[in-house]
Amino acid sequence: MTPAPLGQLLGALRARLDAVRGVVGNRQVTDGGTVQRTTSDLRFVAGLALGLYVLFLVLSLLGGFQSAEAVTSRLQSVTLLALVYVMLTLALNLQWGYAGLLNLGVAGFAAVGVYTMALLSLPADGLGLGLPLPVGILGGFLAATLLGALAALPAIRLRADYLAIVTLAFSEIIRLLIRSQPASEFTIAGQRLGTGGTDSLDLPPNPVKSLLYENPDQGAFVAVENPTVIGDRLFTAGEAVGFGPSLVERVVYAVLMLAVALLFYWLLVRVGNSPFGRVLKAIREDELVASSLGKDTRRFKIIAFAVGCGLMALTGMLWQMEGGGSTAPTTFEPELTFFVFVALILGGSGSNTGSVVGGIVFVAVLLEAPSFIQRIVDTQFGVPSAPETLFDAFTGVDPFLGYFLSDTNISALRFIVLGAVLVYLMHNRPEGIFGGRTEIASPIDLSDRSGTEGDES
């Protein structure tokens, strides 16, 4: 993809948004409260998602997906990843977009959540303590929240760059700790615990499995034989449209994720529209002003940072428990953090709706679309293989196409596109798709003067 089409895409999105919201330029026509704006934003996001589904449907048909099951399966994985990024971006927006706290440890805090949950809730005869899953999830959330506050405490009184360094280091320490030999398996008070080291670690069965199967922890093949009442109904319904049980389970899981993502959005819009969010914005703009107006800025920063870290952990857990339900330290490399930042910049830092759109567009257009396109080229034209000898390279028909679109190089190509997009954005639209718009931080309509002037209320 070249920058020009992206510019058109951004322009089109912007125009669509303006049309929906009745905005002229950057100025908001002050006729509605936050509720109205939230609904119109949600409508926009729903429209965007629908458009992308249609696009991906076309792409998968062109790419030679044969059955509805195969297409749905592919779309489910795109959806799930998009929701994960939406949630991570929303959490990061609270820290960076609102409070200006540069957290380069997104991956690390997600990892803390996932592995804490595993340690707490894996069966006691395995590598865990055997506690119920809700306890594990709560534990993972609290661990990341506390570690976030702890990691931030020394750095938060300093400038933003110090926090960035501390969190980046923290994230890497966590990942290396998980990978390390001593942590992979150890015994405390007779209880065997461990992270699995560099290997992947099987997580406790996710809530959807428990909803669908009588005994979800007995492995997929046994579990399928014993569905619950709800599971039985859903599987029968799935069979009618040709979906196997595992796909039904994944679709249900995606719906659950959607519900949680909506909950995140609701929560963060409320935070943003409150006096609390107003102080965060003030801190981002100029911390000295906020403190000279009597705001205890450290309290606000620590709370925002800790809550953001907790939400990242929650996202990590829900993400890794999906499907086969295993995790590995390679998931939590720093590149995850940078991807989330790209999504936030793309969408518009400081805007919750922007975070949602950024997460969706990032995953759909930048992470997933390339492999769809590769598949299309592959099936429609037949990708020539990469040249094997120098002679082939000079005499072949299109050796470069073959080289670029090979399985191993498409992901490398993705980074090049990503870099180009970032450079383009920084130059032409540094505020992102939804940036530069005013989301007024108050639960009420501040432009309402009826209280003071007594005109029509």
């Binding site: 000279s292 205890d296 501040l446």
Partner: protein
């Protein structure tokens, strides 16, 4: 708001009539010291910026703080407001020793400052800037901002504050700009916005760092009118200013700093005729 001194209400003179008898008038006895700097000392590296500054500000006055460049005015300001901690000496405000307190705590105590270069929060609207300032907002708690049960109470308080914010903005004639980004205001309007924001914190005393710098004469007139109006309502001001006309005509008393020390202190007439001041600061060029 526990202490709602109708800031900004009645810009049209009604306030003048009742300013001496309003509900807060009785606790604002003139002649009482509200702020005291006691032997403040601060050095940065080898440079002693403030070297034993000692002065008092009386309640209800507009006290001027002047001095040539490098005299230590800004450092003194920063020491009084907690941005810097003095190496030695004490700051007493309203009977409380506030030496070494954090800026936010000092502000909550009622001593609020403005900045030399207006530091408005650019990406927030004028209204948001003003709504930020009031102390003890219930909705500033995280749970209060999120949990459904508290939302009504937050919204009610917001509505009250909104009303006060509109009054304050009207007082500074900023109400037409309320929904604009603060970054789009002119330099003079930013100064007005800073004053409005400071007033919304319910201060006892306001420190103004060069409030007239970069403000055109018409606006300056307006700002000074507001200042006197607020003084009559019982606010105390400490003003750092370079414009001699402003200082001589509107401040009383005046504290003159020179090389980190207080050189002279007194009414405009006294300061104007002080030999040392003429020599050190005014260079003897002032006609009097």
């Amino acid at each position: 708001m526990s202490d709602s001194r109708q800031v900004g209400a009645d810009p049209d003179g009604q306030a003048d009539a009742e300013s001496n008898t309003d509900e807060t008038g009785n606790r604002r006895t003139a002649g009482e010291t509200i702020l005291a700097a006691e032997g403040l000392r601060k050095s940065f590296g080898g440079i002693t910026a403030v070297d034993g500054v000692e002065f008092e500000v009386e309640r209800g006055t507009i006290t001027g703080l002047i001095g040539p460049n490098g005299a230590g005015k800004s450092t003194t300001f920063n020491l009084l407001t907690g941005v810097h901690t003095p190496d030695s000496g004490r700051v007493r405000f309203d009977g409380t020793d506030i030496t070494g307190w954090q800026p936010d705590r000092i502000a909550r105590q009622g001593l609020v400052r403005s900045f030399q270069i207006a530091r408005e929060l650019e990406d927030m609207t004028v209204m948001e800037n003003v709504m930020l300032a009031p102390p003890d907002q219930f909705g500033e708690g995280f749970w209060a901002s999120v949990l459904p049960g508290f939302r009504g109470r937050v919204a009610r308080q917001e509505a009250e504050l909104r009303e006060r914010a509109w009054e304050t903005l009207a007082f500074f004639e900023l109400d037409d700009l309320a929904n604009e980004r603060a970054g789009s205001l002119s330099g003079g309007q930013r100064k007005l916005l800073e004053m409005a924001r400071v007033l919304m914190t319910d201060p006892e005393m306001i420190l103004l760092d060069e409030p007239m710098a970069g403000v055109n004469p018409t606006l300056e007139e307006k700002l000074l009118d507001r200042l006197h109006e607020l003084q009559e309502r019982g606010y105390t001001f400490l003003l750092v200013e370079h414009d001699m006309d402003v200082v001589m005509n509107h401040c009383d008393p005046i504290v003159v700093l020179h090389q980190g020390q207080v050189l002279a202190e007194g009414g405009p007439q006294l300061v104007r005729n002080d030999e040392r001041v003429l020599e050190a600061y005014l260079g003897g060029t002032v006609e009097s």
